[in-house]
Symmetry: C2
Subunit: 365 residues, 2 copies
DNA sequence: GACATTAATCGAAGCGCTTCGATTTAGTGC
DNA sequence: GCACTAAATCGAAGCGCTTCGATTAATGTC
C-alpha cells in the first residue's frame, strides 16, 4: 500500500506538505503542488480512509436510513437514494445504507462510532420514536418529512398541504364541485405519517374555501382494494366528477376501475395524481399530476447536511412548493355533456360541501 | 467521547484487555469480561470506527454497487439491497452504497482507500468493463450475475438457463406445442446481460428437446410496446397457446392485452412469469411463475464475501436452482376446447419448431 | 539596512485502536 | 518439588493520517 510518506519522499517534500496539497488548508507553492500531484498520480496513492477519519475526526460518510414499511412506493425511495448518493459524491462524501430494521440503535451506532459524519432519515412519522435520539446525537441530521414537533431539527419535504390544495384548486378551477381524495393505505394514516395527513388537510381546507365537497378515502395497495373502493365511491357518491389520487401503487388500477365502470377520463371524471412525474407521464393516459420531487429532496437534504457540517446555519424547515402539470386526465366539468346534468351535479355537490369539509380535517383513524 | 482507555481505567484493566474482551482474540477470565462489559455499558463506549480500521486494517464495511440502467425492475434491486444490508449486519458489517454512475472509479476508490473490505457488484454484463478492475483489487468481491468469463471471480445468481427450461418444461408437460418467450427490452440483450440471454438459451434448448416451437421476443418496458407486441404475436403466431414472460415491468399489461384480445387465461393461453414471487402471487390473476430469489441472492452473496474475508475457499459459481410455482395462469392445452383445433395447433407448432429452435440460440442483437 | 510580515515548508505529536511479545501466575506431570 | 505449559494480563509499538507550532526564506516598510 502506498502511503503519504511514500508520496512525500517521491516528491521530495514532507508528509505534511502532501497533506496540505490534498486538503488545501495551507498555501503551497504552485511548483510543489505540481510535483506532489504528479507523485500521487504516478504512485497511485489513495489516502487511507480510516487513518484520515481518525486524524481529522471526519469520515466523509453520510448515513441514509431507508424505510422498509408497507404502503411506500419503492421506486420513489430508490430515486431518492440515488439522488442522495450522487449529491454526496459531488461533495466528496460516501453514503452508508441503513434500514429501519435495526431501529434507532443502528443510527446511534454509526454516529457514535464516528463511522458517519451526519445522518439522513427518511419516512419520518408525526411522532417518530427516533426524534429524541436524533436530537441527542452529536452529529447533524436531516429528516425527510415533518414530525409534529420540529424544534432543533432540520426537515425537508414536498409541501404536501400545498400539494393537496393545488390539486383541489386545479379541479375547482375546472368547475368541479365534488372531489374525492384517494390516499394511502389506512395504516399509513394510523401510524401518523405526516405527508398523508397534511395532503388531506390541505385538500379539505381548499375544498372548504372553494365551496367544493371534498372527501378523503384511504386505499389499500392492492388491485382488489382499488376496485372495491371505486365501486363504493360510485355507489355512495355518484356526484363525484373528479378524484385526486395520492397512492402510486394503485394509480393505474384505480383509473382502470373507473373506466371499466363506464366513467370516461377526463370527460366524465377528472383525475389528478400526486406521484413521481415519470409515472404520470408514462401512464396509459398521461395524468395531470403534482410531482413528487424525489431527486430534489435527495439533493437538497445532502446540501443541507453539508452546510451544517460546515457550521453554517440552515433553515429548520424546507417545504418544496408543489408543481402541478396539467395533462390529459383533467378537463372542465361538463365538457362532453349537456348543461342540466352538470348543474344538478354541482348543486348536489355544494349542498354536501359544508358538511363534509367541516366534519373533519383528517380521515378517521 | 469515551475511549478505550476510559473503559480500561473504569474497569481496572489495561486497554489491551478491553480490546481482547471485545474481539475475543485472547482468553480473558470470566470475571474480567464481566467487569469490562459492565464498564462499557455504563460509560456507553463505542469503539471509534476509523481508529479500529486503521489498527486492524478491517473497516467492517462492504460496498454494494447498484445498477441505474433502464430495463431493470427497481423493486427487485431494493429487495436485494435490503437483504444485503440485513445479512451484513448479522455479520457485524455495514454497507456502503455506490451507484454505477461513478463507473469503476468508485469501486476502486473505496477499495483502495480501505473504506470497504469487500465489494458486491450487481447487474454484471457478459463482457463487463469492470472485470479487470475487480480482478486487480486487493479485496474480495462477489458478482451478482455471470459474465462470459468467470475465472478468478465469485459469481452468484438464479440459474436463468434452468429457469427458462423449467418454464418451457412446465408448459410442455401441459401439452403446449408452441410457446413464446417475452423477454427484456432489446437494449438489455444488446448490452449483453447474461440473465436475459441465458433464459432464452435454456428456453430454446428445452423447446428443441421437447419438440416445442419456441420463439423469443424482446419487449420494451412500456404499456404501448406490450400491446403492440401482443398484437403482432397474435397475428403472426396464432398457433401460440402459451407464453413465458420475463419482464416485470410489463407483466400486467401483457396479460391484460392478451385478455383484451379475447384470449382467456389460462383456458386459451397459459402464462408463466419469471419474476419475484410476490408480484406473481398478488397479480389480478395469480400467475404460475419461477421466483427471482432476490432475498436469497443478497444473503448468500454476503455470506460468500464473509467466507472469503475469513480466508476460506468458496465456490466460484453459485447457481440457484429455479423454483416454479404453478398458479392459476397455466392449464393443460385444450382444457376448454374441442380436440380438433388443438391437434391442428400442435401440428403447426411441431412443423415450426425445428426451424425456430435451430435458427438461433439468442435473439437478434 | 534593521525590522516586521507574509508565504512556504517541516517536524513532531497525537488521533484511538489492535496486536505482539513479555510477564506473571496457576496448573500439570512425574 | 522442579521444569514446563497454559491462562490471563500488561505495556508499548505502530497503523497512516492531520494539524499545530516552529523555522526559514522572501518581501515590504520607513
Amino acid at each position: 500500500m502506498v502511503k503519504i510518506t511514500d508520496v512525500a519522499r517521491h516528491a521530495g517534500v514532507s508528509p505534511s506538505t502532501v497533506s496540505y496539497v490534498l486538503s488545501g488548508k495551507r498555501s503551497i507553492s504552485a511548483e510543489t503542488v505540481r510535483r506532489v500531484r504528479a507523485s500521487i498520480r504516478e504512485l497511485g496513492y489513495r489516502p487511507h480512509a480510516g487513518a484520515r477519519a481518525l486524524a481529522s475526526s471526519r469520515s466523509n460518510v453520510l448515513a441514509l436510513v431507508i424505510p422498509l414499511r408497507t404502503g411506500i412506493h419503492v421506486p420513489v425511495i430508490m430515486q431518492f437514494a440515488v439522488s442522495v448518493v450522487t449529491t454526496a459524491r459531488r461533495h466528496d462524501h460516501d453514503v452508508l445504507l441503513l434500514t429501519q430494521e435495526e431501529g434507532e440503535e443502528g443510527v446511534r451506532r454509526v454516529a457514535d462510532s464516528a463511522l458517519v459524519d451526519a445522518v439522513i432519515v427518511m419516512d419520518v412519522q408525526l411522532h417518530d420514536e427516533r426524534l429524541p435520539m436524533l436530537r441527542s446525537l452529536d452529529r447533524p441530521s436531516v429528516l425527510i418529512g415533518f414530525p409534529a414537533e420540529t424544534e432543533d431539527l432540520t426537515c425537508i419535504d414536498l409541501d404536501f398541504r400545498a400539494a393537496g390544495e393545488a390539486c383541489l384548486e386545479h379541479l375547482a378551477g375546472l368547475g368541479h364541485r365534488a372531489v374525492g381524495l384517494i390516499g394511502s393505505p389506512p395504516e399509513v394514516y394510523e401510524r401518523g405519517t405526516g405527508y398523508a395527513q397534511r395532503t388531506s388537510e390541505g385538500f379539505l381546507a381548499a375544498a372548504e374555501r372553494h365551496g367544493v365537497a371534498g372527501t378523503v378515502h384511504p386505499c389499500e395497495a392492492t388491485v382488489e382494494a382499488a376496485r372495491a373502493l371505486v365501486d363504493r365511491l360510485l355507489a355512495e357518491q355518484p356526484e363525484l366528477t373528479a378524484v385526486v389520487i395520492h397512492n402510486e401503487s394503485v394509480l393505474a388500477p384505480l383509473v382502470k376501475a373507473f373506466q371499466d365502470a363506464g366513467r370516461r377520463v377526463p370527460e366524465d371524471l377528472s383525475v389528478v395524481a400526486i406521484c413521481p412525474d415519470d409515472l404520470a407521464e408514462h401512464a396509459e393516459l398521461p395524468l395531470s399530476s403534482v410531482a413528487i420531487p424525489a431527486e430534489e429532496v435527495g439533493r437538497r437534504s445532502v446540501e443541507l447536511l453539508m452546510a451544517k457540517l460546515d457550521g453554517e446555519e440552515v433553515p429548520p424547515a424546507t417545504l418544496l412548493p408543489p408543481r402541478l402539470t396539467a395533462r390529459a386526465s383533467t378537463a372542465r366539468v361538463g365538457t362532453a355533456h349537456a348543461g342540466t346534468a352538470d348543474t344538478a351535479r354541482a348543486d348536489t355537490a355544494r349542498a354536501g360541501t359544508a358538511g363534509t369539509a367541516r366534519a373533519g380535517t383528517a380521515p378517521a383513524n
